[in-house]
Each structure stands twice: as structure tokens, then as C-alpha cells.
């Protein structure tokens, strides 16, 4: 079967046809007659093509010059317009330089180089005899090692080979620390003031009017040692609703302060900041994957790929009237992970 395709060259291309056996098929008529081009027949056309190719190369030269003009004679100052002009000149210069050469060469090849199609025959990848030889050589090699006859050597070698790569995996152990409990804890603790992102100034309950939204970080975050890691867990969105609209479940009645609620901004889907607050519908929308949370139902998911509500941060006010957390989040923030439980 395998060599049925290796007929002699120039047999009909319909060899590979089941059920027909090449009986009732068309003969390959062979290459169509060659049609000379204009430049082959006409001396003037040939000259013209030659000049066109040269012109294209000249365009390339001009393009390169344009690049240098842009590079040396358009000094960057602080304005964007100047940068834009330089970028345009460098780009167009390069474009003309490259296209001039490329189009020129191709035009040359198409019009002036020979355009007779040439036929070359295919050969078998390898003769079948070689395969038998190879099989025999490999068999001999194995035979000479005696690996089949000496299972002790074979098995210990296999064992060694299985174990040997393990250090290469284990050596990457120090790429990072083990998770431990860090995903369960954030910077928030009882008494931490809610402050504005990014300035870090504290927020009075009175500042938060109905319909407003504050992007909040814990007090002291800007001075924290691992600022971005802490921020990636601790960011909170603060909103004030009419207290009537909140429907706290038992045990969470005192997590809000006069209609002011704070929810984790980190999406429970894959962790984008859920920062879009619609003040009339009280929906929170994640701009990455469109999970939608309803603040009036304790940030329950009402649309999209997230499966869990956003964790709520319990808040209160301190003696000076500033908003403070009364504890850390009661559950891990952000996307789910295996150990979350």
C-alpha cells in the first residue's frame, strides 16, 4: 500500500484514487504552453521595467534619508506633537526604505527574470530497504547491550533515571514561600481607619453622602513594607445607601454604619478590581468579566461568572467620627483557591 504513490514521474495525478483504479479519469494534459510577458516581447517594455525597478530603489534611498532627517533634525522636546512627528518620520522613512527594496526586487523578478516553470520530481523520503536495515541495527544495538537479558541492570537503570530528574524539579522549590495563611489575612483589623486611595487621608462618616462611592485603603498602607501585596487584598469600596435598602442577614446587622457599607474590591472570580458602582441600581460591576453584584443583597452575584458574594468589611465610627473597621474580613478575599474551604 505504502509505495503505491511512488509511481514514475509524470504519471497521472489521479493515482491516489480509491475505487477508480485510474481507468476512467482524465489524462494530465501537462503544463500549459508558456506565454511570454510584455517585457519578453517588447524591448521598450523591458527598458521601462528596468527603469521602474531602479526608481523603486531610489525611493528606498529617499526613505532612508527621511529616517535620518527625522532622527537628527527633529529633536525631542517635551511636547507630544514633536514625538509624534519624529515617530512618523522614522516610520515612514523605514517603510519607504524597506518597501522600495522589497517591491523593487519583486518587480525585477516578476518582469525581468526568467518565468519558465520548472518541473522537479519527488523522491521517496527513504527507501524501504533502509527501514529494514535501521530496524536491524537498532535490534543489534540493543542485543549487544544485553539489556533484555540482564533485568537487574535494566531495572536499576530505570529506577535511577526516574529519580535523577527530581532534583531538577526540587531545586525550584525556593521560587517562592509556601502560602501558609497569608491569603486569609489582610491589613484590616479592629480600629483600622478607612482612608482614601491613594492619598491615605481618613474618611468621616459625614463625608460619605448618599450616592457617593469612596475607593478605600487601610490606614498605614502607603507606609507598609509590602505595599502592593497588602493593597492587592485590602482595597475596599465604600458606599452609602438609604439604610432601608440594605437587607443584612442575621449577625451582620452592625457591619454597616447608617447605610454606609464597605465591600472588598477584589472580585471573587479571578481577582480584578470590582470598582464600577451604579449608584441608582446599587450594582457593582467587574469590568474584566462582567460579574455583577447587588449591594442591597450583601453583594450577591446577580450576573456573570463569579460564584460567591464579595466579602463585606464590618465598619463603625471611632470617637473622632472617622470610619474604622471593627475586624478583618470574615472570609478570605479574592478568587477561590483549593485550601479556601
Amino acid at each position: 500500500m505504502a509505495d503505491s504513490s511512488h509511481g514514475s514521474p509524470n504519471t497521472s495525478a489521479t493515482v491516489a484514487k480509491p475505487g477508480q483504479g485510474g481507468v476512467d479519469t482524465f489524462e494530465n494534459p501537462g503544463l500549459p504552453p508558456h506565454r511570454p510577458r510584455l517585457a519578453d516581447r517588447n524591448r521598450r517594455a523591458e527598458k521601462r521595467a528596468e527603469r521602474q525597478v531602479a526608481l523603486l530603489f531610489v525611493i528606498s534611498i529617499i526613505g532612508t534619508l527621511l529616517f535620518f532627517v527625522g532622527y537628527f533634525f527633529v529633536p525631542l522636546n517635551d511636547t507630544i506633537a514633536r514625538l509624534r512627528l519624529q515617530n512618523l518620520m522614522l516610520g515612514l522613512g523605514t517603510a519607504f526604505a524597506m518597501l522600495g527594496i522589497g517591491v523593487g526586487i519583486v518587480h525585477w523578478a516578476r518582469t525581468l527574470m526568467p518565468d519558465h516553470e520548472v518541473t522537479e520530481s519527488r523522491h521517496e523520503i527513504r527507501p524501504e530497504k533502509d527501514r529494514a536495515d535501521a530496524e536491524k541495527i537498532i535490534g543489534d544495538i540493543f542485543e549487544e547491550t544485553g539489556i533484555k537479558r540482564r533485568p537487574l541492570i535494566r531495572n536499576t537503570l530505570l529506577g535511577a533515571m526516574v529519580l535523577a530528574p527530581l532534583p531538577a524539579i526540587a531545586i525550584f522549590r525556593d521560587l517562592g514561600p509556601l502560602p501558609g495563611d497569608v491569603l486569609r489575612e489582610t491589613m484590616w483589623e479592629a480600629g483600622t481607619r478607612l482612608t482614601r486611595d491613594p492619598s491615605g487621608t481618613p474618611i468621616r462618616a459625614a463625608d460619605v453622602t448618599v450616592g457617593s462611592a469612596f475607593h478605600v485603603i487601610p490606614e498605614g498602607l502607603n507606609e507598609a513594607e509590602h505595599k502592593l501585596e497588602e493593597k492587592a487584598k485590602a482595597v475596599v469600596l465604600l458606599m452609602r445607601l438609604d439604610p432601608e435598602e440594605l437587607n443584612p442577614s442575621p449577625g451582620r446587622e452592625d457591619w454597616a454604619y447608617e447605610g454606609i457599607v464597605a465591600y472588598s474590591k477584589i472580585c471573587t472570580h479571578v481577582g480584578c478590581p470590582v470598582a464600577l458602582y451604579e449608584q441608582q441600581t446599587h450594582h457593582l460591576l467587574c469590568p474584566c468579566h462582567q460579574s455583577t453584584f447587588d449591594v442591597t443583597q450583601e453583594a450577591k452575584v446577580i450576573f456573570g461568572p463569579a460564584a460567591r458574594p464579595l466579602p463585606q468589611l464590618p465598619i463603625d465610627v471611632d470617637d473622632e467620627g472617622y470610619l474604622v473597621a471593627t475586624s478583618d474580613f470574615q472570609e478570605p478575599v479574592g478568587p477561590s483557591f483549593w485550601e479556601r474551604g
Partner: protein
């Protein structure tokens, strides 16, 4: 190499000859010239996409090297002091600051960044189009299956190269992309949290990830891509290029132009053309305006946060997957003896299943098709897509699936630009992600079959000329002009496998694999359109000849 001393008969006369002699007597380059100098490459515009991929990769290497001289992959904090006013004084990572410096303070830096990013997008697109060409024309069939697999790995490598590069500027957009990767990784059962901590060197975002991605992006992945390109091209030379069937072209020859000079000139010139196009785009169109996004910070996010197009489909799948359906929750808390563990199927399914299905089918396809057809012969002649209707339909289904998922990754932009509801767009795309590929398959297959019938019609009855002639007895007919033998051969020379009946095994029974195979064969070839045979053509001519001849006579009389 000792042969040059053994055969002193060759005395170079020309200067080219002297150089050749000098080189050959040291490294033996003559054999290469003999092998490649006049090697034949078939010419067809669809054969150029692999070259586009190769050339954009070369452009990536050139522009990328320039960028490495100025880019600093450090996540240390700094305050920007460069020329871009709206960010001056802002706290950011050194990586982002150096990316801004490349854009604003280094002459040609912005241009090189844009060249690099545009050619990256074009590179992956060219790889994809090249693969689609190979798929739709059946160029993956024996003996090229391994090369198809190498190509698939190259596609995955180019996705990896693109993704690792996308994150390097450490801007807000790519940072949120990394955050999504972190979230997806944490959803992996058992090891997910550890993987995330090892990748980021601790908690997200940490200070290690940019440097690690940088090493992958500029060292490991490009080296692997280069190696695989080498293997890929070696196999192309070994197998010789495929060609479309046609007059003079057979399964055992290659018809085209020799490397020297025509093919080399065209291919070489094409490199400059591709470079020129990328340069022109980079001159006039902004890509990845990192200065708009600002430095990465876990708190802000921008509307319209999407990955580059080649990762977009996975993001789209993440968007389409509902977290809950009715009361059914896709996040499971599974009680084990040691405690409760969380399995986040709402993340795992979209992140793994669509990509898994597409890549598995892609890798296995040459063997799936060979198994269905049972054809073990070498295939050096390509199929026109219409002549393999089922394969074409499946390919189109894949393309539609990709497009739906990419559209899903743009659902917010679709909503704002077509003034429709974001939620409705999601509902529709959820439906289309399932129904779209099926519809795409049916429509493409039907169109392919219809085109095949049209080819038959033209082969049998000739081309419609649009000339209406009235016969003596009053009947109007349209004159059909028979096609010439070359055109005719193009229309009739194709493989059309028939439905394979299940083979009977040694016990005279039909095993289950054979049953499945024969069902698959039925699915593939049931509606086949057979190529016209000479006897059919003769019969058709006999039937119509009088009419046409008569019509033509009248025609010639009328025109005189």
C-alpha cells in the same frame, strides 16, 4: 573534504569560481549550492503566510534586541522623572519607568516599541493563517504529520512569547492581566495556590514576576521557537513543498520556480515588504499606549480591559461561563476528612476546556483524518477546500468558535459601540458559542458541496457565456462555452474518497472500532460529489452537442 586535493582537475577561472573553490575546499558549501541553488518551489499566494510568520519573527528579534538595551525588568519602586508630564512624579516600578523612557526619551524607541508589538500581533496572526491554509488544503497529510505537530507547538510557543511580552511594561492593563492569570492559577485543584506563590515569588504581585517573565520572553521561548523553526524548515526541504493539482502537476513532481534567482528574489524581497508594512503601520498607528494605562496598582482598573487578540478567546470563555445556573453553583466546597477544599469550576471549565478541546483536536487531526479515510498513501497534491467539504466545515466551525469567544472578550465594547445591553450580548454569545460552530459547519459544508456541483456543471457543460440565442423553432438557449483542457483538468483532478464500509475481521465480525470508523466515514463522505469522468463528459457532449454547435453557428453568422 579531502576530495579537493584528490581531484586537482578543477581549476576555477572566474572570480565566483575562486571564491566557491576557497569556501568549498574548507567547509564544503558546493553541495548546499547544488541542493538549494535550483531547488523548485511552487508559487501560490497562500503559500506565503509561513514566510510572513518567519519574517515577522525576524523583525521581532531585531526590534526586541533594541528594546532589551534600554528596558530594565526590575520591580523596584521609583518615581518617574521623564518627559511625559501626566505621569511625572508618580510612583511606579523601574520596569514601567524604563518602558516610558523607551517611549518618550529615546529617539526611535517609541517606533521600535510599536514595531515590536505590531509585528508580534502580526506574527501570531500569520502563524494562525498559515495553519488554516495548511488545514484547509490538507497539507498536513502523510508524510507531513510531524511537521504539522511541530507547527502546533510553534503556535503555542508564539502564544507564550506574546503573553510573556505583554506583561513586561508592568502597566495597569497588563498587571490586571497577570492578576487574572493569578486567579485562574489559584483555581487549579491541590497545587494551584502553590503554583501561584512559586510563580510570583510569594503573594501576588510580588517583586519577582517581571524579571522571570523577561527571562522566559527573551531567552527560553525565542530559543525554543528558533529551534522549532529550524526543524520545521528542515522538514519542508525534506518533503518538498506541496502544490495544488493542475495541468502538469502530479503527486510525484514539483512545478514552480527555482530558488535562484526567481524564488529567492521574491522571498527575499517579500521580507523587505513585510518589514515595510510593519514600519508603515508603526509610523501611523499607536499600539499599547502604556502611558494611558498608568503604572500597575492593584486598586484601579480600566474599562475595556482585554488581552491581545490571541489570548482573547480564553478571556472570552471566562466571561461567558455563568457562575451559577439557577440554584446550581459552579463553585464546589468539597468536604474531605482533613477539611473542606474548594473547587472553582466556574473558572476551571472556561480556562481549560475550550483551549483543551481546540488544541487536542488540532494536534490529533492528521491521525483522525487518516483513520477515517484509511488512506495510507503520500499526499503531495493539495485539496481545494471545496473538494474536502467536511474538513472545510470542521475548520470553519473552529474559526467561528474562536471568533465567538473573541467577541465575548469584547462584549463590553460591543455593548457600547452597538448600543445594546452588555447582559444581552453575553446571553447571545453564550448561545452562539455552542450554536455558532454547528451552524458554521453546516453552512460551510453546504457551500463547499454547492461549489463542487458548480465545478461539475462547468466541466460537463462549459462556462455560461451570457449570450442568449434563439433557435429556429423559437426556443431560447444560453450558449455554453466548453472550457479548455487545462481548465477542465483543474476542475476534475481531485480525490473524492467514498464512504468506507466496515471491514470484517478474522472472525467474520465487525468490531466496534470498525463500526465507529465507518460511521465517521459516512459522516465525512456521505454527500460526496464525484469528479467528472471522461465518459460522463462524452455523454454530456453527445447530448448537447447538436444544440451548442447549432447555437454557435448562428452566433457566428450573426456576428459577420
Amino acid at each position: 573534504m579531502s576530495s579537493s586535493t584528490a581531484t586537482p582537475a578543477y581549476e576555477p577561472k572566474t572570480s565566483v569560481g575562486k571564491v566557491t573553490n576557497y569556501v568549498d575546499s574548507r567547509v564544503g558549501g558546493s553541495a548546499m549550492v547544488k541542493e538549494f541553488g535550483r531547488k523548485i518551489f511552487p508559487d501560490h499566494w497562500t503559500f506565503m503566510f509561513g514566510e510572513v510568520a518567519l519574517y515577522t519573527f525576524v523583525i521581532l528579534l531585531i526590534s526586541g534586541t533594541f528594546l532589551t538595551f534600554f528596558y530594565d525588568p526590575s520591580m523596584a519602586e521609583t518615581h518617574y522623572e521623564g518627559s511625559y508630564l501626566p505621569l511625572r512624579g508618580v510612583e511606579m516600578s523601574v520596569a514601567y519607568a524604563s518602558s516610558l523612557d523607551i517611549s518618550f526619551d529615546i529617539r526611535g524607541g517609541l517606533f521600535m516599541r510599536q514595531v515590536h508589538h505590531w509585528s508580534a500581533l502580526l506574527f501570531v496572526a500569520a502563524v494562525a493563517v498559515h495553519m488554516l491554509r495548511v488545514f484547509f488544503t490538507g497539507a498536513f497529510r502523510k508524510p507531513r504529520e510531524f511537521n504539522w505537530v511541530v507547527g502546533c507547538v510553534l503556535l503555542i510557543m508564539s502564544l507564550a512569547a506574546g503573553f510573556t511580552g505583554y506583561s513586561l511594561p508592568d502597566d495597569l492593563l497588563s498587571g490586571n492581566g497577570l492578576r487574572i492569570i493569578d486567579g485562574v492559577m489559584k483555581a487549579i485543584p491541590v497545587v494551584g495556590t502553590y503554583l501561584s506563590f512559586f510563580l510570583f515569588g510569594g503573594e501576588f504581585p510580588g517583586t519577582a514576576i517581571i524579571g522571570r517573565l523577561y527571562v522566559l520572553h527573551i531567552l527560553l521561548i525565542p530559543a525554543l521557537i528558533l529551534l522549532l523553526i529550524g526543524i520545521h524548515l528542515f522538514m519542508v526541504v525534506l518533503h518538498k513543498h506541496t502544490q495544488f493539482p493542475g495541468p502538469g502537476r502530479t503527486n510525484t513532481n514539483v512545478v514552480g520556480y527555482p530558488v535562484g534567482p526567481v524564488y529567492a528574489a521574491k522571498a527575499g524581497g517579500f521580507f523587505f515588504i513585510v518589514f515595510g508594512i510593519v514600519a508603515a503601520i508603526s509610523a501611523a498607528f499607536t499600539i499599547n499606549p502604556i502611558w494611558n494605562y498608568g503604572p500597575y496598582d492593584p486598586s484601579p482598573v480600566s474599562a475595556g480591559t482585554q488581552p491581545d487578540w490571541y489570548i482573547g478567546w480564553v478571556d472570552g470563555a471566562l466571561r461567558l461561563m455563568p457562575g451559577t445556573i439557577g440554584a446550581f453553583d459552579f463553585e464546589w466546597n468539597i468536604p474531605f476528612p482533613w477539611g473542606v477544599n474548594t473547587l472553582s469550576l466556574n473558572v476551571l471549565i472556561p480556562a481549560l476546556v475550550p483551549a483543551g478541546i481546540v488544541f487536542m483536536l488540532m494536534f490529533a487531526w492528521p491521525w483522525i483524518e487518516a483513520w477515517v479515510t484509511g488512506d495510507k498513501r503520500e499526499k503531495h497534491l493539495l485539496d481545494r477546500p471545496r473538494n474536502a467539504p467536511t474538513r472545510t466545515g470542521i475548520g470553519v466551525a473552529g474559526v467561528v468558535f474562536y471568533c465567538v469567544l473573541w467577541a465575548a472578550a469584547s462584549s463590553d465594547l460591543i455593548a457600547t459601540h452597538f448600543l445594546v445591553s452588555l447582559n444581552d450580548v453575553t446571553y447571545w454569545l453564550r448561545f452562539l458559542a455552542i450554536a455558532g460552530p454547528i451552524l458554521g459547519f453546516m453552512v460551510a459544508r453546504r457551500i463547499a458541496l454547492a461549489l463542487q456541483r458548480k465545478d461539475r456543471e462547468i466541466a460537463l457543460h462549459g462556462r455560461e457565456t451570457g449570450r442568449i440565442v434563439r433557435l429556429p423553432h423559437g426556443e431560447f438557449i444560453e450558449v455554453h462555452e466548453p472550457v479548455d483542457e487545462y481548465k477542465l483538468y483543474r476542475l476534475v483532478s481531485f480525490d473524492s474518497p467514498e464512504v468506507a464500509l466496515p471491514a470484517v475481521d478474522a472472525n467474520g465480525k465487525v468490531g466496534l472500532p470498525e463500526k465507529v470508523r465507518s460511521r465517521a466515514s459516512r459522516f465525512f463522505f456521505e454527500d460526496r460529489v464525484a469528479p467528472v469522468t471522461p465518459s460522463e463528459l462524452n455523454a454530456a457532449h453527445a447530448g448537447h452537442h447538436g444544440e451548442i454547435a447549432e447555437a454557435q453557428d448562428r452566433e457566428s453568422i450573426a456576428s459577420h
